[in-house]
Symmetry: C2
Subunit: 529 residues, 2 copies
């Protein structure tokens, strides 16, 4: 293998540089390169170094035209069938320890780890072993190595039947020596019954303050790959069923739902608001004949709630659908969509679920196909039988929801169900009243492990009834004129719902805090990083 | 077929209603129902009406438990093979005209239209024909009809070889009689050479003020279905290539790129900003080992630009990717992704493209596979040969970009190309300087029909060089501390880019204004509807 390219033409070129700016940039880059060469040189004081040119710190990779071309192998593909092969791996140095004439490195790539060893030998110098044992944790290294079978099994690595016998090692990007958190600590099992239960863990704020490090843990790698799967399954399932994806504005002129909990934006010489949901816009898309629509996007809530399940900004998975005669056409479509998502996660993300399970106590998520539908009154009756009375026109409290989730799980063995026909009094003004019972409404919530993850309903598509209901709720009709007008020119009956993406991932995996499923969470006290 | 359900139990139930709120809702709903029955009754003054129960206005569809169940047929599936069949269609009444004992209705569903006729006969009364001819345009109707072959061809309908002979017609949702714009006017061809060129059109503001109507035109139905296709192709292509979808916060603590053109948000007792791009967050995802990421989401620019191609809020299609030695690994991945999108649009959206072409002068979009890459200096040379001098460290002006687009199209027959190696001086602080030429940078723009739709580069992944460059650009290092810190703990070299979704759709179709490809556009003067 050839040596990493070092650009020898640069000095000549920099002399020609005319602009101050360009010069400065050049200087900083040179300094980085100089550092690199110095590091290397220090190791090379011994002129007899048999490993010269086989290790060191690479110059900053700046896409040099003379850059080498090289195939790299993913750690996850390493297994004993490849034993004997010489290959290159670019990975993080997870840990390193020196022992006599050897250094033992654990290389990490996403959720995978493999052991790499350096032995002083005819081709590997003492200086090279020493260099490798001084590489800071979390640095990115390029390693050339021969893959060797290991009979005993490598403890603590995902690749247990092989190790890498290193012939070259180059630092691509060095980490600062002091880490604000250790990946091992951040990865440590948090299960109550774990033997390591008393060891150091990393608290939530430290994790979030240093999110770039925290996200490198196997569990976090798995959580966010699974989260991407939730979005993909949501969209693919709906696209298959004839839905069209739309995009709705986040900057809106009026706080639609009464004006509470809304963020204000300064908008040129005036002001505007951040949308609390795409509700009105997806309904307009229905009135505009798109028939079935969904949208995935940021949703903002200026609620000063510091709980395990509230964020001020989250990702809404929203859908809306015209129906013919009964909103259950929509409710059951949503239920089937959830079944498709749960099935997809179970079948396509088993590995990710298992990896999360190594750190957190994950109970497998159970669901029925078709999903369970309970009426609100059925739910109240189950709660009453358990000693919790909920009035016929009252909403469920969060503890009541959780209890009902446990009762449903015990009786029906499902972590997902739909609760239909909420009291009219506890739903937004645009909810269609039940035609058969004036106290009820054509609305539903859906739950995962006893927590609400979707709220939805048939919407009022008649402008007169809508105005009436808005007035009743004390909403200034002028402020929602364009919303009401959307229904003046003919609109099919329709229903829909909004889902909190982060909640779905949190509850599917059985995690205890929504900050674990938002890559860069926002709450009343946090807007960094 | 049975009559539409009318709920006869409601009066009894409403007597039992106790809450004021519920009563009010009921009353409004009753009023809507009363209106419906009255409309019907007025038509039925003639006791001899042979069509009684076959037409009228349905009560408001509120998901009655006794609702009929009925299969509906989509207009797009109607063809002469189905002739003779009796079927139900729910569609908009596009136009209606009465002529003697007949009424001719055009029914519209998305981009499809079909003629429906009512003839006075033994089963169709004069009153029914009269009722049908008085239904307001844009109302939604349920029609029962027998499908009949038409030999001559139905002018002005998409379904030319069939028509519907109506046996029942019910208004599901009535439109107000006065429309702020006519769908025919809003759908009229806008091509310079069109025979209808001098007829009434609808101006942009009227369209946007009444977007729910405007979006019903065949061209708009097609544009936004194609736009959904762009997003799907973007995501699917990248997912196939191992990218992970991420979500980045829109509310941020510091205006990252110098503080200009940023919207301020009041955030509880403090203030925050709306992100101008997911730049810093997708880079953090790279530093956090996600390797290849993309994100689709709202992007905000507080620029007071009132042009055909600027919005204050648009949808960003962003991606970022770690590479091994040269940023061209990324640039070419992006180029291939565009080829996949263009191929997908051409193959999967031919009908939509044709429909847009009926209203607007659409030139087919040409592209090469693999795509054309020009160096910035090549581009400058082509411009110089055409008489336009651009300095080696100057940016391209918009007119120069457009001219270059025409020159490239003439020479290479492609509407898409990539321009590589921009001057360092015109790129953001985090752009990697070219190692071989200090005046240049490892950056690229991509163009469709001569307009920029992607800007991208290798980013500086070394914290020291990054700080140096930020200082040079006059950026307060404290404000971007968490960004710079992201690279302190090892980061692979990486590059990426950001794409304006609405621009891609506008330029792919050759439309003249970005407001045509944003469902609810936001500009300095518009934040409604």
């Amino acid at each position: 293998m050839s040596e990493p390219a070092v650009d020898v033409n640069e000095k000549g070129d920099s002399k020609k540089a005319q602009k101050k700016e360009a010069k400065k940039a050049e200087k900083a880059a040179k300094r980085a390169e100089h550092r690199a060469n110095t590091d290397n040189a220090q190791e090379n004081v011994n002129e007899e170094d048999v490993s010269q040119g086989k290790y060191g710190t690479l110059p900053l990779i700046r896409s040099d035209t003379n850059a080498v071309k090289r195939d790299f192998t993913y750690i996850k593909t390493l297994n004993k069938d490849l034993a004997g092969k010489v290959l290159w791996v670019r990975a993080r140095l997870h840990t390193v320890r020196a022992r006599g004439k050897q250094s033992f490195i654990v290389l990490r790539q996403h959720e995978y780890t493999v052991q790499a060893i350096l032995n002083v030998s005819e081709t590997v110098s003492k200086a090279m072993v020493k260099f490798s044992s001084n590489i800071t944790k979390e640095s990115i290294v390029d390693v050339e190595a021969q893959l060797a079978k290991v009979e005993a099994g490598v403890a603590g690595c995902t690749q247990q039947d092989v190790e890498l016998v290193v012939s070259q090692i180059w630092v691509v990007s060095a980490s600062a020596p002091q880490l604000p958190l250790q990946i091992e600590d951040a990865s440590r099992p948090e299960k109550a019954d774990d033997a390591e239960g008393l060891n150091i863990r990393v608290n939530q704020d430290t994790r979030l303050d240093n999110r770039v490090l925290d996200l490198r843990t196997p569990a976090n790698q798995a959580i966010f790959r699974l989260e991407a799967g939730v979005c993909r399954l949501f969209r693919d399932t709906l696209t298959e069923r004839g839905f069209t994806e739309i995009h709705t504005p986040k900057i809106i002129s009026a706080a639609s739902e009464g004006g509470a909990n809304v963020f204000t934006v300064s908008y040129f010489k005036g002001s505007a608001y951040l949308a609390q949901s795409p509700q009105l816009y997806k309904q307009m898309a229905i009135a505009a004949d798109f028939e079935k629509v969904f949208t995935v996007g940021a949703v903002f809530r200026a609620e000063d709630s510091n709980t395990h399940r509230h964020l001020t900004e989250f990702v809404g998975l929203d859908l809306e659908m015209a129906f013919k005669y009964h909103y259950h056409e929509v409710m059951l479509t949503i239920g089937d969509m959830f079944t498709a998502i749960f099935r997809g996660l179970r079948d396509q993300f088993a590995r990710e679920i298992a990896i999360v399970g190594q750190q957190f106590a994950v109970e497998p998520f159970t669901f029925l196909d078709p999903p369970l539908v309970l009426s609100y009154d059925d739910g109240r009756a189950m709660l009453a039988a358990a000693g919790v009375e909920v009035g016929p026109e009252d909403d469920l409290s969060t503890p009541a929801e959780k209890l009902l989730g446990r009762l449903v799980k015990a009786k029906f063995d499902t972590d997902f169900y739909m609760l239909d026909k909420y009291p009219l009094a506890v739903r937004p003004f645009y909810t269609m009243p039940d035609p058969n019972d004036p106290k009820k409404s054509n609305s539903y919530d859906m739950f995962m492990r006893g927590e609400e993850i979707l709220s939805g309903a048939q919407r009022i598509h008649d402008p007169e009834l809508l105005s009436e209901r808005a007035k009743h709720h004390g909403i200034d009709l002028q402020k929602i004129a364009s919303y009401i007008d959307a229904f003046k020119y003919g609109c099919p009956p329709h229903a829909g719902g909004g889902i909190g993406m982060e909640r779905v991932v949190m509850l599917y995996l059985g995690l205890d805090n929504i900050r674990k499923t938002s890559m860069f969470p926002r709450d009343p006290k946090r807007i960094t990083p």
